[in-house]
């Protein structure tokens, strides 16, 4: 077997093909940029797909205002260093209403500051295609989603009414107001993503690496105290522990894991030896069985 037969090489070629197809077929694509490792890989692949030219679409970040500070710094640095156009959108109505993850529950908060914010941004930009970094191995409902996933005028996904997707012939045709969500990393696994980050030396947010950080322990979920908006429960106080994050999002909703893994191979080693799946660290998935599927129907990424 030669290097070009390796699964990573195949996955890379498939992702590049998908991205080029979107640019060929769609009038106004945009790339959702969540600042996580999957977004980093997706951005890296996009730069490969269109080299030696610039990215033919902007990045869009939905800023809930509750992201880790290190994420925002990384985002701005990445956009500047790579010279890519970065759009940042926050749901101003939600912000004005003071919607936050402490008072309104993860479900309401996510709906207003993420799902609705995303819809606003896509509508305002009149984007007919949005790239997302989701992978099919992440969650059960995603295992069945198309690579080119149709959204109606209300950004809804109908799992019972998906377009058949055959060979590498992707049908991205939509009417005005409708759109495509496109997932170039659909066939990547978590290990593939990490391996690729390592092999290609792709920059990622330092929060993925273990370091002493201030956290509170809530029934086994380690929540980081990232700024002074943090609400301590009575008797609660931050303690410094060696932790890292397997997934990144809004800091009050992201659970850390205790770790001493500071290098990529060590992180990958821990991941491989882990006995719990990746999304477990995300608070929103626990609300109820099948909850991700419901969010996706409503337009969540």
């Amino acid at each position: 077997m030669t290097a070009r037969d390796s699964h990573l090489h195949r996955l890379e070629a498939e992702s590049i093909h998908i991205m080029r197809e979107v640019v060929a077929q769609c009038a106004r694509p945009v790339m959702l940029y969540s600042i996580g490792k999957d977004s980093s890989v997706m951005l890296h692949l996009a730069r490969k797909a269109f080299a030696p030219g610039p990215l033919p679409f902007p990045l869009l970040h939905i800023d809930t205002t509750w992201k880790f500070r290190e994420m925002i710094a990384f985002r701005d640095r990445t956009a500047e260093e790579l010279g890519v156009e970065l759009l940042v959108h926050t749901n101003q109505d939600g912000l004005a209403a003071g919607i936050n993850p402490f008072d309104h529950g993860s479900r309401n908060y996510t709906d207003v500051m993420k799902t609705q914010a995303l819809r606003q941004a896509l509508d305002r930009g009149r984007f007919d295609a949005a790239f997302g970094g989701a992978r099919r191995d992440e969650e059960r409902s995603r295992a069945k989603e198309r690579i080119f996933s149709f959204r109606d005028r209300h950004h809804r996904w109908d799992p019972k009414n998906q377009r058949p997707e055959l060979w590498s012939l992707y049908n991205a045709r939509v009417h005005p107001g409708e759109s495509m969500r496109v997932f170039p990393l659909s066939n990547w696994t978590e290990l593939d993503v990490w391996l690729y980050v390592w092999r290609e030396e792709i920059p990622i947010v330092p929060l993925y690496h273990a370091a002493p950080r201030p956290v509170v322990d809530r029934d086994g979920v380690l929540v980081m105290v990232d700024d002074d908006r943090f609400r301590f429960a009575p008797g609660e106080e931050a303690e410094e522990r060696w932790v890292r994050f397997r997934t990144l999002g809004c800091y009050p909703l992201s659970g850390a894991v205790e770790s001493r893994a500071t290098t990529l191979p060590e992180i990958i080693q821990e991941m491989l030896l882990a006995t719990r799946s990746e999304r477990e660290g995300r608070v929103i998935d626990h609300d109820q069985s099948g909850s991700m599927e419901e969010k996706k129907r409503e337009g969540y990424f």
Partner: protein
């Protein structure tokens, strides 16, 4: 998820280096819940330690409420995706699963077994190299088994594993397994699925899934996982040379003009001569650009950007191909179509066709027949319904570039999109260019046989009817000889009709261009006229290039072998070029025209010609003499 290699704990970098170089096998699993397919996949993941603790915990909890295995975790529940499906207890769409072992990484496309979901299986199969078909040992080979095998065969899957499951229910009987095996192999003889691998398993108990069965020691083949890890399923199974469909033209600045795409088959290297289609212009590959530096060569499956030595007009949907191995080009496709919409389609239905050529307006012209996916038998059909698989003719507004699906699944496949809703309503696999020669007349037309008999005509005209085909490349002297032959036969008192290819194009065939497909159609029209004229007792002289042997055979069939005289006119290249009656050689040298037989496309030299004349060496009169002599021998001129 990854398997538990001891290397992970001891030397993770070594493990990663090993993992990085594993290849990828895409596997389709087909069968229904009743066959234990979900249990099998769950078993594969479970026994290779690929299930996380939290997933297993959720599974154990779910098993109590909706499981079917009592106090054991119901592995089948792992595979069900969407909430609605979990409640219904059936899988209704294609789900993808990922796992790796120490040898390979795998993508499993899990396709449902229910009869009405052919479209899902076709969807899953379209990206897979290998299919695992489940058979319930207690029920044997069912219609469903045949259906899955047929679809795998149609979709070009050449590696099939038949897992005879639930052996625990038949006391692990060797006799039962062999009975099923023999029945399956008899059925599979008519399919194109290579040599299927049949093995007895029990997904529930784990026999022959990951490890060899202790109970079934009479079976000495490898267990399922070992087979999947070791089977040689090459990535580029296509039979065609270079095909590089241009996906996107990139011109970030005035100096760089690159053609981005994925190599569909073959290899492209710097310095290779390639031909851009449809323009037909030849050029040389200057660079193979990637973000990681230029390559010397790129192979099937690789996504690259090519630059060319010349300023060639190439856009999305065009193909760069090997100069000596070209795809078909035609408007009409003969294809196997899978209909995927609940709204039926009838001939005349307007659609969009999407292929590596991009989009084209198209229509469903004819439904030749439906295919019974259980028996492969053709069944008459007036329309296409959901999940129908049918042999159809599709007509595209644009001339398409394509290969037969069996030769190249990338350039031989297409999808059909509804023009109003934009929904994908069908998928197609090209058999070849559709020939209008095969088309059935529409409606209730009938022949009106003449009351004048052939004998009466022969007596009146003093001749036997015949069609003399003068075939040859441009400049071979066809028109000149046809005129001289007409004069001579007329002077001999014969009644005849002369058809000249060029004259046909001034009238009868003025709607046609010069592609092989359109030449074929022009010849069909000429042949139909010749047949009618022969029926009226006339001798017909047809002067046309007729570059394709297959088309000349068609003419022979249509007018009848006993009436057909094929004369091949040949002349040396320099003679033809010097004559160059229409300036075609000069135009081709300037790169202006495509599709000139003998210049840019092949002229297939007749192998069974009744007469071969070198018009460069012999005079026109001598050539006419030879033809007249032959006609005399055949009794055409009335002496017989």
């Amino acid at each position: 998820m990854a398997h538990q290699s001891p290397l992970i704990a001891t030397d993770v970098e070594a493990y990663l280096a090993e993992h990085e170089h594993k290849d990828l096998l895409r596997v389709l699993t087909c069968g229904s819940v009743d066959d234990g397919k979900s249990t099998l996949i769950g078993r594969l993941l479970h026994d290779t330690n690929l299930i996380y603790e939290d997933q297993l915990a959720a599974l154990t909890a779910d098993s109590v409420t909706s499981g079917t295995t009592g106090d054991r975790p119901d592995l089948a529940l792992l595979m069900d995706g969407l909430k609605a499906e979990r409640e219904q207890g059936i899988t209704i769409d294609v789900a993808y699963r990922y796992f790796s072992t120490s040898r390979r990484t795998f993508v499993l496309a899990d396709a449902p077994g229910h009869e009405q979901y052919t479209r899902n299986m076709v969807t899953g199969a379209s990206t897979c190299q290998l299919a695992v078909i489940l058979v319930d040992a207690s029920r044997g080979v069912l219609d469903q088994t045949r259906r899955h095998s047929t679809i795998a065969s149609l979709l070009g899957i050449r590696h099939v594993v038949v897992a005879v499951n639930k052996m625990d229910l038949v006391d692990y009987s060797r006799e039962r397994f062999e009975q099923i095996r023999d029945e399956y192999l008899r059925f599979a003889e008519d399919l194109e699925i290579g040599e299927p691998y049949l093995l007895p398993i029990s997904a529930l108990e784990g026999d022959n899934v990951v490890t060899s069965s202790a109970v079934m020691d009479w079976f000495d083949g490898p267990p399922l996982l070992t087979h999947l890890e070791t089977v040689d399923a090459g990535v580029d199974a296509s039979a065609t040379g270079l095909r590089f469909p241009v996906q996107l033209v990139r011109r970030p600045d005035r100096r760089f003009r690159g053609f981005a795409g994925t190599v569909a088959s073959g290899t492209v290297a710097v310095g290779d001569r390639v031909v851009a289609l449809p323009s037909g212009v030849a050029t040389t590959v200057a660079r193979i650009v990637t973000a990681d530096g230029d390559l010397h060569a790129a192979h099937a499956g690789e996504a690259v950007t090519l630059t060319l030595d010349d300023e060639v007009d190439v856009s999305r949907g065009d193909l760069l191909v090997a100069a000596d191995d070209r795809p078909h080009r035609a408007h009409d496709l003969d294809a196997v179509v899978v209909w995927m919409s609940s709204q039926p389609a009838e001939p005349g239905r307007q659609l969009l066709l999407q292929s590596v050529n991009g989009l084209s307006n198209a229509s469903l012209r004819t439904i030749r027949h439906r295919v019974d996916v259980t028996t492969l038998a053709p069944v008459p059909a007036a329309s296409l319904s959901l999940n129908d698989i049918a042999r159809c003719t599709i007509t595209a507004e644009r001339e398409l570039l394509f290969d037969a699906y069996r030769d190249n699944p990338v350039t031989g496949s297409f999808i059909l999109v509804d023009r109003l809703t934009n929904v994908t309503v069908g998928a197609g696999m090209v058999v070849g260019p559709a020939s209008r020669w095969d088309e059935e007349p529409s409606g209730a037309m009938q022949h009106h046989p003449s009351e004048v008999t052939a004998d009466e005509r022969r007596a009146r005209l003093g001749q036997r009817p015949a069609t003399i085909l003068l075939t040859g490349m441009t400049g071979a002297g066809k028109s000149t000889l046809a005129l001289a032959l007409e004069r001579r036969l007329f002077d001999l008192g014969r009644t005849l009709l002369r058809l000249d290819g060029e004259e046909l194009r001034l009238g009868l065939s003025r709607d046609l261009g010069f592609s092989l497909e359109e030449r074929s159609e022009s010849l069909r029209r000429a042949a139909e006229i010749a047949r009618l004229a022969n029926q009226q007792g006339l001798i017909v002289v047809v002067a046309v290039q007729a570059p394709q042997g297959e088309v000349r055979e068609r003419i022979r069939e249509l007018v009848g072998t006993d009436r057909f005289v094929e004369v091949h006119l040949d002349a040396a290249d320099e003679v033809r070029r010097a004559r160059d009656p229409n300036g075609l050689y000069r135009a081709a040298d300037r790169g202006e025209l495509a599709d000139i037989p003998g210049v840019t496309v092949t002229y297939e030299v007749p192998v069974n010609a009744d007469l071969r004349l070198d018009t460069g060496a012999a005079t026109v009169a001598a050539c006419v003499d030879a033809i007249v002599a032959l006609l005399g021998e055949r009794g055409v001129l009335g002496d017989g």
